[in-house]
Structures are given as C-alpha cells and as structure tokens.
C-alpha cells in the first residue's frame, strides 16, 4: 500500500465568479507518477497551479477547501515556503535568459539571496544536472547562457533548476508538448527514473503519454474529478462512462 503525500480535500477554485474546479477529492501517492488528464480547459492546469499556489497570483482568483502536504494545510502556510517544497516545470521551457546554465540551476537559491560556499554550489549544480540527465551534455559549458541549448535540453535544465531546491513533489505542466518525439522520449525516461526520489504529478492532454508513464491517473472533466485509479485499470476497464468516452476519443 503506497503512502499518501498529498491530500486534496473538497477543493474548488474560481476565477472571480467563474468556477473552474468543483469539489475535488484526491490522494496522491508518494514517489509515484500521478497523471492528470482531460480535455482542454477542464481545469487540470488550474489544479496543479493550486497545489503550488500559483493560481492565486492571478487577480480575482479564489479557492476553497484544503490541500494537505503530510497533514499540513498548504493554504495556511507561507506561499513562498510552499513553492520551495513543491517545484514546477512549465509547458514551454523557460530558463532565465540572462543567466548561465550554472546560475540557472542554482537560481532558486541565488534569487532568494541564500548563499553557499563555492564547493557546495558546485555540488548542487552537478547533482541536479545529473538527476536531470543533462550533466554529460553541458558540463564543459556551464558558464554559457542556457539559450543555446535545444528545446529538450532547455526543458531538462528547467527540471534541474526545480530539482536543485530538493522539492518533495515535482509538478510537470505538459512538459513535453513543445518538444519533438526524441526529446519527449528522453523526458519520459527521465520521469521513470526521477519517481524513485520525488513524487511526480504530471498534467498532460496526451492520453498515450499518461498511459505510458503513470502509476496512477486522474481524469478531470469540466472541473470535476470524474475518475481516479491505477493506470493499469483506468485504461483497460474505466469505471465511469465519461472516462470511457474520453479514452475512446468521443470528445476532447
């Protein structure tokens, strides 16, 4: 039986009066890959942005309900602390353009004014790049700017940057939708390795990808959590008719 790292309880989210998520209840298993799938606009991206409290940066955004990380409500913590425990990688790779690869990886510390000795910094950079399967390709170019890397490499740089903060959970928002198939395959292999150390929650609109890489899958439709279960069962014998229709391509 897996242990639960994150519990989402009776959670709803709004943009002003527009309700985007309706009463979601979900338990995320630790050190597993949980995929959140659904058609465009169903609320899946909003859900993960509520987990690391980025949703509230939009004016008129509101939430109700609780999200518990190991029994502590994220919404009663300082959002800055939440975002350091829960990292995020975005759809389009976004390394900081004015910084070198080295500086990008430790950006989370540097920008926060947290200082380390040179050796410690080097260790963090090397460890994070190795975990993101990028070390070999950039170790001789650490002080060049990140923008000369390919799309897939830039995305792995963003993953390294997030990993450097040693988050407990890594949120991936459609991380491969801007990448070519080869880069996508690299990232999927990386995810299979990473889940041994970090809990991963990935949003994807690509059903095949969700099926391939996840241990658990949640299907969100029109702001509701329609079904949640092991990927083995979800893709062969879904319980809800809407899930069945989504998987067989009847909509979305």
């Amino acid at each position: 039986m897996e242990s639960t790292i994150l519990t989402i309880e009776d959670f709803s989210a709004y943009f002003g009066t527009n309700q985007v998520l309706n009463n979601v209840n979900l338990s995320v298993a630790q050190k597993k890959v949980t995929a959140i799938m659904g058609p465009s606009g169903c609320g899946k991206t909003t859900l993960i942005r509520c987990i690391n409290r980025m949703h509230e940066l939009v004016p008129a955004a509101q939430v109700s309900g609780r999200i518990l990380l190991h029994d502590k409500n994220l919404y009663s913590m300082n959002p800055i602390i939440v975002r350091r425990k829960i990292g995020m990688v975005f759809q389009k790779p976004n390394p900081f353009p004015t910084m070198s690869i080295y500086d990008n990886v430790i950006a989370g510390y540097k920008l926060n004014g947290i200082r380390f000795g040179k050796r410690e910094r080097d260790e963090i950079v090397e460890e994070s790049l190795k975990r993101a399967a990028l070390w070999g390709e950039v170790k001789d170019n650490l002080h060049r700017k990140g923008t000369f890397l390919s799309g897939g490499q830039q995305q792995r740089l963003c993953i390294a940057r997030a990993l450097a903060m040693h988050p407990e959970i890594l949120l991936l928002d459609e991380p491969t939708s801007a990448l070519d198939p080869k880069a996508t395959a690299h990232i999927e292999e990386l995810i299979a390795e990473l889940k041994k150390q970090v809990t991963i929650i990935i949003v994807t609109h690509n059903i095949a990808q969700a099926a391939r890489i996840s241990d658990f899958t949640a299907f969100i439709y029109l702001g509701e959590l329609v079904e949640y279960g092991t990927s083995e069962k979800m893709f062969t014998v879904p319980k809800d008719k809407r899930t069945e229709e989504y998987l067989t391509g009847k909509f979305g």
């Binding site: 990927s231 083995e232 893709f235 062969t236």
Partner: protein
C-alpha cells in the same frame, strides 16, 4: 517501462505452465501409483488456481496493450501470451479429466499392464516442457520440432484404441475401465495438441509467420 512489463508477462506465463505441468504429472502418477490424495489435490486445489491465473493474465495483457501501445514483436508477445494462457487453462481442465478417470480406476484392478499410457504421458509432458522452453528462449526451431512430435502422440492414441477395442470385444466386463482409459488417452492427446498450439504461437511471436491450420510439413 515496457520491458519490465514484458518480463512480468513472461514470468507469469512460465509460472502458469509449471503449475499445469505438475497437474499432469500428478494425475498420471496418481493413476500409476494409485495415489488418491494427489488426484484429489489436482481436482480441488490446482484447478481453481488455473482459472484465476487465466483471468489475471488476461488483465495483464490487456493493460500492457492499453498502456504501452506495443508494436511489432512486443504486440505479438502480448497477444500470444493471452492465447497461451487460455490454452494452459484448457490443459488444466484436461488434467482434471485425467485425474477424475484415474480416481475411478484406482479402485479397480488393471485391465492390462499400463505401458502405453505412461509412455504417452511422458511424450506429452516433454512436449509441454519444450514448448515453454521454446517460448522462454524464443527458439522457433525447437517449437517447430515439438510440433512434429504430435504424430507420435497420435500414433500412441490409435494404438491404445485398437488394443482396448480388442479387449472390450473379448471381455465386456472391461468396458467401463477401458472407456476411462480411453478418456485418459484422449485427454493426453488434446494436451499434446494444445502444446503444438503454443508452439505455433511461439513461431508467430518470434518470426511473424503463421503456421496454424496448415499441414505439418512446412
């Protein structure tokens, strides 16, 4: 990901085959040595296991296909394993039939010395063992060779049939026992047939060639 799933699939199938092998051995041995307990074991304990295994293997194959969308050989593996598992389950049913007839025969004196049935069983069990080996090793040559042994089993069955016909026409009191012996040999022959099915599946899996429903010389 996919490779791990395939390894799991193969492992489960091998476990299933081992169970069925033991069932056949126990049934025939139980007949030979008049061991009632092992025969009862086959019927009551082992057979339900084979049913459960077939169901779980079906689910495993289905989830592998749904999750990984395998292509080419990987897809053939998934499909053929599903078929092999249903063949194994049927073999289990035949082993149960053998055990049931054996149970009847253990209480009665022999109609003739048991020579051909043990021989048939030996060939059949070896065919099953080798068909599984050909699956593990992805060895289509071995699979082909096993298919050819089916003739031996057929000949043995015909021999048993003719002998028992003579026996039954000479002495009507042997009819009931003979019919049970015939049933046993018939079931052994079906098991051998199912083993050749497995071999045909192995050949399709490894080479993509279909040799089903053709004459034995190809």
């Amino acid at each position: 990901m996919l490779e791990e799933k395939i390894t799991e699939l193969k492992r489960e199938l091998i476990g299933f085959a081992t169970l069925v092998e033991r069932m056949i051995e126990k049934s025939v041995k139980g007949l030979h040595e008049k061991k009632r307990e092992s025969l009862v074991e086959v019927i009551e304990r082992d057979e339900p296991k084979t049913n459960a295994l077939e169901i779980s293997m079906d689910a495993l194959c289905a989830s592998m296909i749904a999750q990984f969308e395998p292509k080419a050989k990987d897809l053939r593996i998934a499909l053929m394993v599903a078929k092999m598992s249903s063949d194994l389950e049927r073999m289990g049913d035949h082993a149960v039939n053998i055990a049931e007839s054996a149970l009847f025969l253990t209480e009665k004196p022999l109609v003739k010395p048991l020579v051909d049935i043990p021989k048939m069983a030996e060939v059949t069990i070896k065919m099953l063992k080798d068909s599984i080996t050909s699956f593990i090793e992805e060895n289509s040559k071995l699979a082909q060779e096993v298919c050819e042994r089916d003739n031996t089993v057929d000949e043995l069955k015909d021999k048993i049939l003719s002998e028992l016909i003579i026996l039954m026409s000479q002495d009507p009191s042997t009819i009931e026992r003979s019919l049970h012996l015939l049933r046993i040999s018939g079931n052994l022959e079906r098991i051998a047939d199912l083993s050749t099915n497995i071999c045909e599946d192995v050949i399709y899996m490894t080479e993509g060639k279909v040799i089903k429903h053709q004459s034995k010389n190809w």
